[in-house]
């Protein structure tokens, strides 16, 4: 199973990690799909769809920290690892993301 899907993965370089201010998020529109990439102060990177499942709020503009993001529109909170909302109401799509040689590498399944 892993093998089969490994071949379907699309790996997308997004440019230098420094482009994202420490502790904030940025929006990347990958092939028309807006994706938020977050750079936590401890260096961890996370990526989610840039639309809160509640009312489509731009999560990239939210406040982050402790592995969570708060939607700037109505304050819904999401776990950046799983995408699950902290109160259990909604979940946002997450994507694997990493840094290689100072560059952000996003993986789309």
């Amino acid at each position: 199973m892993e093998m089969k899907h490994a071949s379907l993965e699309i790996v997308v370089p997004l440019g230098p990690v420094d482009a994202i201010p420490l502790g904030q998020g940025c929006t990347y529109v990958v092939d028309g799909c807006p994706i938020a990439v977050f750079r936590q102060r401890d260096g961890q990177l996370f990526a989610t769809k840039n639309a809160c499942p509640h009312r489509g709020g731009p999560l990239a503009d939210g406040i982050i920290g402790g592995g969570k993001v708060i939607c700037p529109l109505h304050g819904r909170q999401f776990d950046l690892k799983t995408g699950a909302s902290v109160d259990g109401d909604y979940a946002v799509q997450t994507y694997p993301v990493r840094v290689e040689g100072g560059e952000i590498i996003l993986t789309l399944a």
């Binding site: 199973m1 482009a19 904030q24 102060r41 503009d61 902290v86 979940a91």
Partner: protein, 806 residues
């Protein structure tokens, strides 16, 4: 041997551990306890498995008892070690090479998922949903899937469906019956629930029996009895449960569908007992938590020699659907069974609300609350106690019009169960309040677990506190500046000053062990800035987006720009410039604001610096927690009633205080006579001209709350107005809680106290407040100047476009 009775429990699930807990709470000394558990863990709350599947809870969070608990109570736990034999003649249980002798044996082996007779079902991609391991296997497999089917539209099936949906899959629920949750709902309720599930994105196929699984080794779809098929990458079975009674049967105990027990939970062997989902009592099997807890209590009473109420009488079942976004509580009968039955129902299809009661002999035989479950707590008590119902049936579905409780907590007997999630009775709660000195709902929760799961009983817990403690104490956390740090504002300020903490990240590092809590960043930033002013280390990630880009975020992610127009007085040139900018940037909307300013709405983030520069005006601060605009009437300049020059005063006020940060936004006004055209008496801060002088009003509001302002003082000159307004603003900056409006502070401190402090200056703080506000005025810069010098490169960056190479 220590001479204690040897109690062996087979099964380390919710039933097995509950019995042990109940026994220990009655008599810690009597038994030496040994437990066998087939899962390699401590013991967890199975009702929360769907939360683990959705990821809203971590597996760690659903454990009821850690391994320490077993150690602390000297319980021998053989985890990951199913018992395989019961030697009844020699009274020995065997499993995995271990032998444990018993005087008393309890079987609590629970149940497993029922697997229906479907052809070719043994495929990769077919799962049951029953244990923590199942949960983790499903989650791992789902990552490689797009579509999932759930077989079974009952409680657990719907919870599993919601879990799969949140993993990003397209989910279809397949149910044999013509509607969902057929055991707990009638056709109408089932149809409404179906609509709610579908709105959530879960498809449903009703009246369908699965006959065959499709695909080779790996599942690709399901075939139904009518010949139709469904393509799916995985299937989760949730068609019901089957008691794990094989072990008991193999070793000669009476077994029907489950292990047969009497009212003392005794099997056909008097030294062996059974509880929970493996047990069959008076012909009934139970698959819910509450009955299992009832059984555990009865058994514990029996084994410790204090059996009350003649043993287990069977349970009345109450079901609560734990799918977020859908509220459903169902109890007892769903349809009338006697011609005398009274049926009361209410349907509101547009909101998905459905409420129904079946009333027999003036007692509740059944009830369904879907979409709105406010009265579930009362109905549950009425149902469980089989209590006589009040005459006004509507109150039971909607609450009384006066808000008075329908059922007084006084009326409940001590054994009435209040928290159905954790099986906590009124007696236990009373004890926690009277002897445990619990003074808040959360303290009761910490001591008894009541109210910590679904929270449905919290209102009742508050009533108990009022009755037995005479008051509901505030949680100490309510006095903390932010909930993650156990410190009041003065304590926190002292700690910050002592350690010289000047940034939010340093604060988390120094005072919170490095753990960041995003919801408190803005509050802490505001506090630090008030303490250090110019010395504060500004970290932009601690600011709300409005304060990062100095504009107000709108529902579509664009921003509104409101330039500063002092006192609401503008000029033809300024108006022309605003109009030009609106045209140049094709601003979708121009709106006069509630504060007498002009808003350009619908500006994209990357346009902001250009719009500001072309406007050539200062920021109107219409986005931040700061002093905003000062509304004015035309006053003595034009108005025939005008007593004072409100325009001149308004401009002075705004020029002095605009943009000064405060715990929440501050709205101001200055009016030229008591007719109050610019509404000074419903502003956070206002001035009203009277014959020969000005009144200064504080603590008004006309937004979330409507509150008439209080008169702080009456003075003669504009300068005096500015002085007292400044004192009030600075006092609010120092004493307001983050996000507390000025009226909150005025009510909390009291207007008399404020007059003493700010006007009479009884404590001599006036001069210091005057100096502090002066310092804040001097430290102020125009945030829109960042148009020319962004603080960091991405500050006004739009989305980065990335093309995929194909």
């Amino acid at each position: 041997m220590d001479g204690r009775t040897r109690l062996v429990v087979i099964g380390n699930g919710m039933a097995g551990t509950k019995v042990v807990q109940e026994i220990l709470s009655r008599d810690r000394e009597r038994f030496h306890v040994v437990m066998f558990g087939s899962e390699p863990y401590g013991n967890y709350d199975r009702t929360l498995l769907s939360d683990v599947l959705t990821g809203s809870k971590d597996a760690k969070q659903i454990f009821l008892n850690s391994l320490d608990w077993y150690r602390d109570h000297n319980i021998t736990l053989h985890a990951g070690m199913p018992a395989t034999a019961i030697d009844r003649d020699n009274k020995i249980v065997r499993g995995g090479g271990i032998e444990e002798s018993y005087d008393t044996l309890i079987i609590a082996t629970g149940s497993r998922a029922l697997v229906p007779p479907v052809k070719a079902l043994e495929k990769i991609g077919v799962f049951v949903f029953r244990t923590l391991d199942d949960c983790q296997t499903i989650e791992a497999y789902a990552r490689g899937c797009r579509r999932a089917a759930v077989m079974g539209g009952g409680l657990l099936g719907l919870e599993a469906a919601r879990g799969l949906l949140s993993l990003g899959l397209q989910v279809t629920v397949v149910e044999m019956m013509p509607w969902l949750m057929a055991q707990q709902l009638d056709a109408e309720g089932g149809a409404l629930l179906q609509r709610s599930m579908e709105q959530m994105g879960v498809q449903t196929l009703l009246g369908k029996t699965v006959t065959r699984a499709l695909g080779g080794k790996r599942l690709t779809g399901l075939e139904f009895q009518d010949g139709t098929t469904l393509d799916t990458d995985m299937v989760v079975m949730s068609c019901g449960i089957r008691p794990n009674a094989e072990l008991a049967e193999r070793f000669g105990l009476a077994v029907d569908r489950g292990i047969v027990v009497n009212d003392r939970m005794q099997t056909s062997d008097p030294d062996i007992y059974a509880v929970g989902e493996c047990a069959q009592h008076r012909g009934k099997l139970y698959g819910l938590v509450a009955p299992l807890y009832d059984q555990a209590r009865v058994l514990a009473e029996h084994l410790t020699g204090v059996l009350s109420n003649g043993g287990y009488q069977g349970s009345r079942s109450i079901t609560k659907l734990k799918v977020m976004g859908i509220q459903l509580v169902s109890m007892g009968d769903t349809i009338p069974s006697d011609p005398q039955d009274e049926v009361v129902s209410y349907v509101e299809p547009s909101r998905g609300v459905y409420k129904k009661m079946i009333i027999r002999n003036n007692r509740l035989a059944g009830a369904t609350l879907l979409g709105e479950t406010d009265t579930a707590g009362v109905l549950t008590q009425m149902f469980l106690l089989n209590a006589e119902l009040p005459d006004r049936r509507a109150d039971l579905l909607f609450g009384t019009s006066t808000g008075a409780p329908i059922l007084s907590v006084f009326d409940l007997p001590d054994h009435a169960q209040i928290c159905h999630c954790h099986g906590v009775t009124k007696g236990q709660i009373k004890e926690a309040i009277e002897f445990g000195k619990c003074r808040s709902v959360s303290q009761i929760g910490a001591s008894t677990r009541a109210g910590t799961s679904c929270g449905g009983c919290k209102k009742l817990l508050e009533q108990f506190l009022e009755v037995y403690a005479g008051e509901v104490a505030l949680d100490p956390a309510e006095h903390w500046y932010v909930p993650s740090l156990p410190m009041t504002r003065p304590e926190l300020v002292a700690a910050i000053k002592a350690k010289g903490i000047k940034s939010v990240s340093a604060l988390f590092r120094e005072l919170n062990g490095g753990r960041e809590e995003p919801s408190h960043k803005a509050a802490l930033a505001s506090l630090l800035k008030t303490i250090w002013a110019g010395e504060y280390e500004d970290e932009r990630d601690a600011r709300f987006i409005n304060d990062r880009v100095h504009a107000n975020i709108q529902k579509d992610g664009t921003f509104s720009v409101v330039p500063r127009i002092y006192g609401g007085v503008t000029s033809p040139a300024e108006l022309r410039r605003i109009a030009d900018v609106a045209e140049r940037y094709q601003v979708p909307a121009i709106k006069l604001t509630g504060g007498q300013r002009i808003a350009l709405a619908g500006v994209r983030k990357e346009q902001l610096p250009h719009v500001w520069k072309d406007l050539g005006m200062a920021s109107g601060h219409a986005y931040t927690k700061a002093v905003r605009s000062c509304k004015t009437c035309v006053g003595s300049l034009f108005c025939r009633f005008g007593l004072g020059d409100s325009i001149a005063l308004g401009i002075k006020i705004e020029k002095r205080f605009h943009g000064i940060e405060t715990p929440h936004k501050m709205k101001l006004a200055a009016v030229g006579c008591p007719r109050n055209c610019a509404e000074s008496t419903v502003k956070d801060l206002g001035a009203v001209a009277i014959e020969g002088g000005w009144q200064v009003y504080v603590g008004g509001g006309a937004g979330t709350r409507v509150r008439a302002a209080d008169l702080l003082c009456t003075v003669k000159t504009h300068e005096e107005v500015l002085t007292y307004m400044g004192r009030f603003i600075q006092y609010y900056r120092e004493h307001g809680k983050y996000m507390e409006r000025a009226y909150g502070l005025v009510e909390r401190v009291g207007i008399d106290e404020l007059r003493e402090l700010l006007v009479k200056d009884v404590e001599g703080i006036g001069a210091r407040l005057d100096a502090e506000i002066e310092r804040a005025v001097e430290a102020r810069t125009d945030p829109w100047a960042e148009a020319d010098a962004p603080v960091y490169p991405a500050q006004f960056g739009g989305p980065v476009l990335v093309e995929l190479k194909r």
